[in-house]
Amino acid sequence: MAFLEIRNLVRKAGAVEILKGINIDLEKGGFLVLVGPSGCGKSTLLNAIAGLQQPTSGEIIINGQVVNDLHPAKRDIAMVFQSYALYPNMTVEENIGFALEMRGMPKTERAEAIRGVAKTLQIEHLLTRRPAQLSGGQRQRVAMGRALVRKPQVFLFDEPLSNLDAKLRVEVRAEIKRLHQTTHATIVYVTHDQIEAMTLATKIVVMKEGIIQQVGSPSDIYNRPANTFVADFMGSPAMNMLPGHIDGGMVHLTGGTRLPLPGTVSAAPAQGTEVLLGIRPEAVTDRSLADPSAKHLIDIEAPVELTEPTGSDMFLILRHGGEALTARVRAEVAVEAGQMISVALNLDKAVLFEKGTGQRIA
C-alpha cells in the first residue's frame, strides 16, 4: 500500500473548483514533484495535504491513516514555504527548535537535535543570528533545518528554490537530492521549474487547471508524454509538433514528407487520422550526433532560419513544410541562417498525438 494516498480530492473556493478530483499514490521514500503552470492548484493541493486548507471532498491518507480531520501539527509533516516563513523575532536556533519546544522536548535534548541538523546543513555558525541577518541561501537552509529537525513522515516543499539566484538554485537542488538519498525521506515538492522536476523526482505529477494530466517517472513524462500539454510543458526548448495525417500506415506531414510510424506507436491509427508528430530537438540532429543504434533515422533537408549557440551545442530553428522545427546540433557545425542543412530525425524517440484530442497514440 502506498505511504501517501490522495483519493478524489476536490477543493472549491466558492463556486470555482480549484482541484477537480486528484488521485495520487506515493510509496515510502518517494520524491513526488508536482509541476504545472501558475495557478493550476499546486499550492492548494500541498496545503490540503498539510491540513492548512480543508478539502471540499476526498481523502488524504498518510501511512494508512485518514488524516482529513487531523490538525496540521498532528499529521507528522513538515513544510518548507517559498518565503521560508522564518519567525523574525527568533534566532536561527529558536526557529529550528520551535516545533520541538511545542512538543515539550526538554531543553538539552532539543539543543542536541538542533546541533545535529545545523551540522548537516553547515549552518552551525549562524545559530545565534536572526533571520534578517541572513542571506537568501542561508535562510533557505534554516527553513530546511526547521523541517528536518522534526523527522516527519512526509516533507512538503512549496517552490523552495524560487527565491534563489540561478547558481545557488542548482547548488541547493543538488543538496536536496543528496538529502533525499541519505535520509530516504518521503517528499512532495512543488515547482514550476521543469528542470527541478526532472532532476529531483522519482515520480512527477503534471497538473493543469486542477486536473492531473499525467503521473509517471521523469523518463515517462519526458519520453512518453500523455498529451500535447505535457509534451509542451516539459523540456526546453519545447518539443516540435509537426502536423500531418496517417496515409497507408505512414505519417504524411503537411510539408509532403512521408515518415514511418514512430517507435512509440504499436498499432497504426486509422487511415486519414489527423495527427501531430512530436519530436524533441535532440532527436533532430546532424548525422554525426545521431544515436547510431536508432532503428529509424530519416534524413531531411531544411533551410536554417536562426542559430542559437548555447556553448555546449547549438539549436537551429529550421523551416519544414511551413512549420518551425528546432534541431540540436554540435556547436562546431558550421552553418548560418539562410543555408540548407541536412538533419536526421530519430523516429524511435518521436511520439504521435491525435490532433483533435491532443492525446498520445500508443
Partner: protein, 293 residues
C-alpha cells in the same frame, strides 16, 4: 530622485535654508511661549504675579506653589492638593491602556489571521465606533455603568475607556497584521503552536512599533479625557483633569495663579514622559504602517 542641482545656486540654497530654519524657530517660540509662561508663573510668588510682567523671569524662584498644588490646594471642599486625583488618573490610565491595547491586538490578529464569515462586517462596525462622538454615548454608558454597579468608580472609567478605545486599537493592529505574512502563521500551526501561542510567541514580539503607537495614542487620549471623567466620576474618585478644572474654577478665596499653573504642568507631565520615552518609536511606527498599509 536626483536633486535639481543645476537650477539652484549654492547661494540661494543657503538663503532658503536660513529662511526655513528661521521660520521654524519662530513657530517653535510661539508654541513654547505658553509653556514658558506656565513654568515661570508657577515659580513666582503671588505678589510678584499681581505686580509684574507676565513674561518676566521670576525674581525669587520657589517651588512653594508646586508643593501647594500637589498636597494642599483646595479642590471643592477638601484641601488635600491634586495628588489623590493624580493617582486616580494613573490607576485609570494604566489598566485602560493595557487592556485596550491587548484586546486591540487580539482583535487585529483574529480579523486578519483567523478570518470568519462576516469578519468584514465586524471590522466595519468597529471602525464605525471610532466615529461616534463622546457626547452620543454618555447617557447609554451611564445606564450601563449603573446596571453593572460601576458608576462613580475607577473601574467604571477603565471600562468606558477600554470600550471607547477598542475601535482605534483594533484598527491600528488590524492594519499592521494585514501585512504580516500568513505563511508564518501556517508554519507555526504545523509546528504545533495553538491560537494563543502563535499570538504570544510570534505576533506580539514582532509588533513593537504598533504597540508603541497604540500606547501613546491611548495614553494621551485617556489621560487628557475630561468628558468621561466629569460624567462618570465625581468627588474623590475624579481623575486629574476634572480636579484641575475644579481647582482652577473654584471661586472661593484668592485666585492662586502660581498653584494653578503648577497643577497644570503636573497634569501634563505623564503624557510628556510617554512621548519622550516612546516618541522616537512613534514616528517609526507611523511610517511602517504607512508603507505596509
Amino acid at each position: 530622485m536626483s536633486a535639481p542641482a543645476d537650477s539652484v545656486s549654492p547661494g540661494s540654497a543657503r538663503a532658503a535654508r536660513y529662511f526655513i530654519y528661521g521660520a521654524l524657530l519662530v513657530f517653535a517660540l510661539v508654541y513654547l511661549t505658553p509653556l514658558y509662561v506656565m513654568l515661570t508663573t508657577s515659580l513666582k510668588s503671588l505678589d510678584e504675579i499681581r505686580g509684574g510682567d507676565m513674561m518676566a523671569l521670576p525674581v525669587a524662584p520657589s517651588l512653594d506653589a508646586w508643593f501647594r498644588a500637589w498636597g494642599e490646594a483646595c479642590i471643592g471642599v477638601t484641601c488635600g492638593g491634586i495628588k489623590g486625583y493624580f493617582w486616580n488618573s494613573l490607576k485609570m490610565v494604566v489598566p485602560a491602556v493595557a487592556i485596550s491595547t491587548l484586546l486591540g491586538a487580539l482583535n487585529g490578529y483574529v480579523l486578519t489571521k483567523w478570518r470568519f464569515p462576516g469578519h468584514k462586517i465586524v471590522f466595519g462596525m468597529m471602525l464605525f465606533a471610532c466615529f461616534i462622538p463622546f457626547q452620543a454615548v454618555l447617557i447609554p454608558m451611564a445606564r450601563v455603568l449603573g446596571i453593572l454597579g460601576m458608576s462613580n468608580s475607577t473601574a467604571g472609567l477603565v471600562l468606558v475607556h477600554v470600550i471607547y478605545g477598542l475601535g482605534f486599537t483594533t484598527l491600528f493592529f488590524r492594519n499592521y497584521y494585514e501585512a504580516f505574512p500568513d505563511e508564518l502563521i501556517k508554519s507555526a500551526m504545523i509546528d504545533g503552536a495553538g491560537f494563543f501561542r502563535i499570538f504570544w510567541r510570534i505576533l506580539l514580539p514582532s509588533s513593537g512599533p504598533i504597540i508603541v503607537v497604540t500606547v501613546i495614542y491611548q495614553f494621551t487620549n485617556i489621560w487628557n479625557d475630561f468628558l468621561f471623567g466629569v460624567s462618570f466620576a465625581s468627588g474623590e474618585g475624579a481623575p486629574m483633569t476634572v480636579a484641575l478644572n475644579n481647582l482652577v474654577s473654584s471661586s472661593t478665596g484668592v485666585k492662586e495663579y502660581n498653584v494653578d499653573m503648577a497643577a497644570a504642568v503636573i497634569a501634563a507631565l505623564p503624557t510628556l514622559f510617554v512621548y519622550i520615552v516612546a516618541g522616537r518609536y512613534f514616528v517609526r511606527g507611523l511610517m511602517a504602517g504607512a508603507v505596509k498599509g
